[in-house]
Structures are given as C-alpha cells and as structure tokens.
C-alpha cells in the first residue's frame, strides 16, 4: 500500500508539471509571436514592445509556476 502511494505521488507530480506546462508554453509562444511580428513591422517601438512582452511572458508563466507548486507539494510535503 505504501509503495503504491509513493508511486502515485511521483506519477502525480510528473503529470502536474507536465500537463501544467502545456498551456503556458503555448501562451508564451503566442506572446512572443505577436511581439516579434510587431517589432518587425515597427522597429522603432522595439524597446517598449520587448518590455511588454517580458511582462506578458511573466503572467503566462505564472500558470506554470502554480503547476510547479503543486508538483513540489506532492513531492516534498504530502
């Protein structure tokens, strides 16, 4: 029983971060795509766009961070 629980814990942690990283990955890809296109069309605004891009990436990444929190909790605390 305890072995089974251990197994499920590792499986759950892996699944949590693995599945949780899909959405933010797509999101960050879209953000950077939009930013690079905007920079290509309007190179003078590149600096401002880059700042906003990084901030946007940070917001998308926060979702992956929540998945990481769940995985760490499963591994080290639960």
């Amino acid at each position: 029983m305890s072995l089974n629980l251990e197994f499920l814990k590792f499986l759950g942690a892996g699944l949590a971060i693995g599945l949780g990283a899909i959405g933010p990955g797509i999101g960050i890809g879209l953000v950077v795509m939009g930013a690079v296109q905007a920079m290509g069309r309007n190179p003078e605004a590149a600096g401002e766009i880059r700042t906003n891009m990084i901030v946007g990436i940070a917001f998308a990444e926060a979702v992956a961070i929540y998945a990481l929190v769940v995985a760490l909790l499963l591994l080290f605390v639960g």
Binding site: I54, V55, A58, F59, A62, I65, L72, F76
Partner: protein, 309 residues
Amino acid sequence: MGSRKKTILISVVILILMLLSALIIKIPLPEITMVPEVVFRVGGLPIVNSFIAVLIGDFFIFLVVWLGTKRMSLIPQGAQNFVEMIVAGAYGFAEDVAGKENARKYFPLVMSIFLFVLVSNWMELLPGVDTIGVIHKISEGHGYAVSSFLGVQNLVAAPGHYQLAAFARTPSTDLNLTIGLALISVIYTQVAGVRTLGFGYFKRFFDFSSPLNFFVGLLEIISETAKIISFSFRLFGNLFAGTVLLFVMTFLIPLFLVLPFYGLEVFVGFIQAFIFAVLTLIFLVLAVSHHGDESSESSESVPGELADS
C-alpha cells in the same frame, strides 16, 4: 580550410573528454532539498546557509556601491562610472515604464529589489556555493561515503551514510526569502495606494454601487492575494529548477556539458530579477493611478491591460 579542421579536431577532443569523464570521474549528487540547512545557532536562533549567502551578497553590493561613491567627482571615473552607468540606465528605463513622477518616487525600492535579487540569483554560479560545507551523518535517505584528501574530507560517489550541509546556498532557492520579498512588494503597493489616493483606494476592492462592481472587487482581492504566490514561486521555481539542473548536469557528465547551462542561468538570473522589479513597479503605478474610467493623463504610458486580469 585549416581553421575548419581545427574546429572539428577540438570538438572531437572535447567529446572524447566528456565521454571519458563520464566513465571515470564519479561525483556525488548534492542533496536536493527545499529546506535550507542550519549551519550554526546563535543562542537558539538558527542561522541557515541561505542567510549566510544573503549576507555575502549584501556585502558585495555595499562594497561596489561604497567604492563607487567613495570619491565622487563631477566627471566620473572607474567604479563611480560603473555605478552611475547602472543606476542611470535603470532610472531611464523606470521613467519609460512609470512616467517621471512615479519613477522618482518608487525607483529606490524597485532598484533595491532588482540589485538584491540579481546578486542572489547569480550566486548560484559561484564555485563553493552548495558545495563547501560540513559533512554530517544522516539516519535515513540517500547518503555517500567519505574520503579524505590532503586533510580535507570529501564525499565520494559510493553508498554510505553521509551528506553535505553547505555553508552557503543560493538565496533565491529558499522559499522564505522569496515570500519575504513578495510580501514587501505587495504590502508596499497597498501602502503606496493608500498614501496617494487616501481611503478611496479601497474602493477598488469593496464597491457596492452595483452587483457587477462588487464581483469585480472580489476578483481584485483574489488577484492581489495571488500576486504573493506568483511573485514568490516564480523566483523560487526558476532558481530552484536552475540549481537542480546544474547539479544533475554536472552529475551526469562532469566536464564541459554544464557550460552552456551556466550561460543559460546567467540569462535566467537576470531576467527573473528584471521581471520581479518591473512587475513591482507596474503594480505600484497601477495602485496609485485612479481606477476605471477616471484615468488621469499620466497613466498613458502604463501597460494597464496586461495586469488587469
């Protein structure tokens, strides 16, 4: 064609060295824990290894700034030039993001956060951090054997009952530090909002004018709380994953493989410090600007839509 042959030769030699090192040199994997180890106690107060690293980092920042401001002259030279370059560049950037008035008010806090987080992050690149410490016996879990070399004890990659408690640990991989920074950032945001807007600041959280506004206020409260979690775990998660990455890569192949990852970590450390500081600044600007439709003219340069969700 000579240079090309040379490049190929060097690559082959490096590859062979990597393979040989993986076969011959066996190094123990450092213990991966979320909890920092207690190095010593001062009258019952535990001094953990991440705190020692924080002190080292603070000392480094003070040293650089002291050298830069020791003999100030109108025409900057040497260290003063360096410090002025960093501060002036960052101040210009803050003015771009926050506008003149807000940048002048909040730049000191934001720049302090940036420098502190940057030094904390880059500490993981220093040799000796996480690797020099006290070898202690463990009762359970995975341990290694101990050997002695020139009077210095070290772990060897053989099963045993010993683990290393390092003197210094990358400060950002300690959740206490990142949560502390997140609390400073979020609480100061509320303080700045109240200071600028008075108690009208709380209208964005408790708005009873219509059911919809009340619901929006609830969402604002939730997002304010979630900021603490995302601030702290973003920094912690990135840096913790970074140190584990460096550990495991060195463990797999001791020579050369880890070098590109060191480059990556320099980049990640800078970006995370930058994000922490810029997000703090943006949230501050959002907090002190008037809410909703009565936006003032100074909020023109604020990327407000990003942080609204």
